[in-house]
């Protein structure tokens, strides 16, 4: 009796098992989407080799040009040389927007984003440090006295910036300070690039799993974190008073060069969209990105399109604005800027909720059990 039933159950189970393993034909079940299994290695390789490393290389090149132009200026402090410095600095600042989001691995260890681009700059601290001649850029307390924001102040802040460098008594101190700020940025980014090129690239690609510590999950979290906190809030939301109800123009990125903040936002948004679509940094060919990953999942194609449409919409709205500074200072509340911010904001649920959900990526590394 017992044997009989046991036999029946075992054979039932086996039938189930055989059915489960053999129905690998496409009939009867949903047709598989275009690419049934998405190869995360391809995605990670494109990110590393065609986007992240080339972006860093481009940044270090642009930054080297700026460094050279500053050296020339420090030898010969003419208006012409100063203009060259300022435009090289602006090019480097724009280029920075294409690497800022990659706060992963070596950049994360370095604390690169906070060290290179904390704003607003602490003007009093900068002047104190220049006057005193002593400062330690390895301390986190000096972050708002260095980086691009400090350079913005040094080049554009004072009524007559050039005169502050040519001043017979204080000019040399200012030159030294500025070149130390430049050195700090350059050293850090070069270290990060070297780490990517030497070994981090390989370990980044090798970590191709789906756990919360694997590269795709972490990069995706870093991506939305950058978008929410630095692009959306840092460049627009905080200055427009979205989180306090009070406008704060002094918290604008590139505060001392009116209008540059808008351009930096656009650069950041371009970088974010290119990363989403997997566009190669050099040449701009469309390679594997989040959009392709999404397309392997039901409903993902439509979502990828919506995200791209929304990014374009946000770009158009922000493009139509006056300089952020005048938007904020001439309107209370700054309605047009808040509306443009609203379009940027609409991307957050699309990415953080819909995209994360479809790709089965946990928001932040929530280290706890589920059921």
């Amino acid at each position: 009796m017992m044997k009989k039933y046991f036999g029946v159950s075992v054979s039932l189970f086996l039938v189930l098992l055989v059915w489960a393993c053999s129905s690998d034909t496409d009939e009867g079940v949903d047709p598989p989407p275009t690419a049934p299994t998405f190869n995360r290695v391809t995605l990670l390789t494109n990110w590393a080799d065609n986007i992240i490393i080339p972006s860093y290389q481009s940044f270090t090149d642009t930054f080297a040009t700026f460094e050279t132009s500053f050296q020339i200026f420090s030898q010969e402090r003419t208006q012409g040389n100063f203009d060259a410095v300022r435009s090289a600095w602006e090019a480097a600042y724009r280029s920075w927007q294409h690497v800022s989001m990659f706060e992963i691995g070596p950049a994360e260890q370095n604390g690169l984003r906070l060290n290179v681009n904390t704003f607003p700059a602490d003007v009093l601290l900068i002047e104190d440090q220049i006057a005193g001649g002593t400062y330690d850029f390895t301390l986190s307390s000096t972050r708002d006295s260095k980086g691009f924001a400090a350079l913005d102040y040094l080049f554009n802040g004072p009524e007559d910036a050039l005169a502050s460098f040519t001043n017979a008594t204080t000019g040399d101190g200012r030159i030294t300070y500025t070149s130390d700020v430049i050195l700090d940025i350059g050293t850090r980014v070069n270290e990060v690039l070297a780490a990517w090129e030497s070994q981090f690239r390989d370990s980044f690609i090798a970590s191709d799993g789906s756990s919360s510590t694997s590269s795709v999950d972490r990069m995706t979290n870093d991506y939305i974190f950058y978008f929410e906190r630095f692009l959306r809030a840092g460049k627009m939301g905080i200055p427009a008073g979205v989180f306090t109800g009070e406008v704060a123009p002094n918290t604008l990125e590139a505060f001392y060069q009116e209008g540059l903040g808008n351009a930096l936002f656009q650069e950041g948004l371009d970088a974010v969209q290119d990363f989403f679509n997997g566009v190669r940094f050099n040449g701009g060919a469309n390679d594997v990105g989040f959009d392709d990953y999404l397309r392997t999942i039901t409903g993902g194609d439509e979502l990828a399109q919506s995200i791209n449409n929304q990014m374009n919409m946000a770009r158009t709205e922000v493009n139509a604005l006056d300089s952020f500074l005048s938007e904020i200072e001439n309107n209370d509340p700054p309605v047009a800027m808040l509306e443009a911010y609203g379009e940027v904001q609409r991307l957050v649920p699309l990415i953080k909720t819909d995209m994360f959900s479809l790709l089965s990526i946990d928001v932040d590394f929530v280290d706890a059990d589920g059921d």
């Binding site: 049934p36 649920p349 909720t353 059921d371």
Partner: protein
């Protein structure tokens, strides 16, 4: 006693109960140590500035650094349960401390924590220390080789309830016809050992979904029925190990695997106990004095039967309470918890709170990360009761900052089982005018789709 036939007095061996007690104690101790060693006490109960409470249990809050003491007490009582020393007191302590821990913040709510809570409550009434325990060793009056059959049956009943309700909850169109959410979850699991290469295949989530539902609905019967018992246990092991490989579900698989041992005959449990006593060289002959526990006909026993009956009545009815609410259960989650709805939803949301100053008309958005941990924010964003509680917390916070005449609105989007996110809460409703209650929350936007089934 005839009128209470439900509580069968037929004497059966107490050994299965003893094994159950020992394994329960060990697993609970392991759970506590695991929780502690992962740093979760600090992370989940001490670090957050704010904790989400269960309705009616707002007074249950973490105890600061004393929270460690709470976990210590809980772990200690688990040791005493394993040893069967001062069993009732230990079990009571365990039940209270464990339940307190679970009530501290509903962010961490898991069905299996709820299962442990109610199981430990039930165990309070069972003589799990009658056999193979220190209590029984030192006190002859507590030593019994046989106990009334109902004491073991209730454990089987509770397990059967959990499985069957979990199975019934899967009988919906998302699970069976769309293979959601498994379709989403499995697609990313191409890196798991052995099964990884299967995970990208379109038919796999359907097989898993149907097999999972079938498994839940039939496993109690396969376990009860002797000829299929070993097969059933094999399936239990395969099923739960598979889920533990695929998903981040902590101790739950092990708790279920070991719990189902209660379905086996006493002979099996004796073998386990013999193995234990040989390994540790314990003289266990004292337990085999063949005494039988007979329940006295007194008020206390009647009271016990009453409580246990009520317990099961509640367990039987609670999962159906969602029927009293309008709208889609998965969307509103009204009546979702405490009902063995496990792994049914891939749900995520985004909630942005707008604080409006009535007097000046000025407004601003809240940076949630200022008040909530990422885990809390994630859980809050798709559960209406969390959203409401958080809004009231924000009122208290900003009132302190002098913004006393404020209104709070939320702009929120939720995605459920792969559907595009849609507006979740009516953004025109001032959340400060709403109160938490068991009533339907009218300010939750209706679900835009239709999920058919139970």
């Amino acid at each position: 006693m005839h009128k209470l036939k439900l509580f069968s007095q037929e004497p059966v061996e107490a050994a299965p109960l003893a094994v159950f007690r020992i394994l329960f104690g060990i697993l609970m101790l392991w759970s506590m140590l695991r929780f502690w060693s992962y740093g979760w006490i600090e992370k989940l109960y001490i670090a957050p500035k704010f904790h989400f409470s269960f309705y009616g249990f707002e007074w249950v809050k973490p105890l600061g650094l004393w929270t460690y003491g709470l976990f210590f007490v809980c772990g200690l009582s688990a040791i005493l349960i394993t040893l069967g020393f001062k069993y009732r007191l230990a079990m009571l302590t365990f039940f209270l401390s464990f339940t307190y821990i679970e009530l501290m913040d509903k962010t961490t709510y898991l069905n299996h924590y709820y299962f442990v809570s109610i199981l430990s409550f039930l165990l309070l009434f069972l003589p799990a220390n009658a056999y193979f325990s220190l209590d029984a060793k030192y006190d002859k009056s507590k030593r019994f080789k046989y106990v009334p059959k109902w004491n073991i049956d209730v454990l089987k009943l509770l397990l059967a309830l959990v499985y069957i309700y979990a199975g019934l909850a899967k009988l919906n169109s998302d699970w069976l016809l769309q293979a959601m959410p498994l379709k989403i979850w499995l697609a990313s699991k191409t890196d798991v050992p052995l099964m990884g290469s299967l995970m990208g295949k379109a038919w796999v989530p359907y097989v898993f979904s149907w097999f999972g539902a079938l498994y839940d609905l039939t496993i109690p019967f396969l376990l009860l029925y002797k000829p299929t018992r070993w097969l059933a246990f094999f399936l239990v092991a395969v099923f739960h190990i598979m889920t533990s490989v695929l998903f981040n579900i902590g101790m739950f698989p092990y708790i279920m695997i070991f719990s189902t041992l209660i379905f086996f005959d006493a002979g099996f449990h004796h073998k386990l106990l013999d193995f234990l006593s040989k390994t540790f060289r314990w003289d266990t002959s004292v337990f085999d004095a063949k005494a039988t526990l007979r329940e006295k006909h007194n008020t206390l026993t009647i009271l016990k039967y009453g409580i246990v009956s009520l317990f099961f009545a509640v367990q039987l009815l609670l999962p159906w309470r969602y029927l009293t609410y309008p709208g889609e259960l998965f969307w509103t989650e009204e009546g979702y918890r405490f009902s063995w709805r496990v792994m049914l939803m891939e749900k995520a949301g985004y909630a942005q709170f707008k604080i409006v100053n009535k007097a000046s008309g000025k407004w601003f958005y809240v940076d949630n990360s200022e008040f909530l941990t990422p885990f809390q924010e994630k859980q809050m964003a798709f559960q209406p009761d969390f959203i409401l509680e958080y809004a009231h917390f924000l009122r208290d916070h900003f009132a302190k900052e002098g913004q006393d005449t404020i209104e709070i609105y939320v702009e929120s989007y939720v995605t459920l089982n792969g559907r595009r996110s849609t507006e979740f809460i009516d953004p025109k409703v001032n959340l400060l005018e709403q109160r938490e209650s068991f009533k339907h929350k009218k300010w939750v936007r209706p679900f835009k789709d239709d999920i058919k089934g139970i």
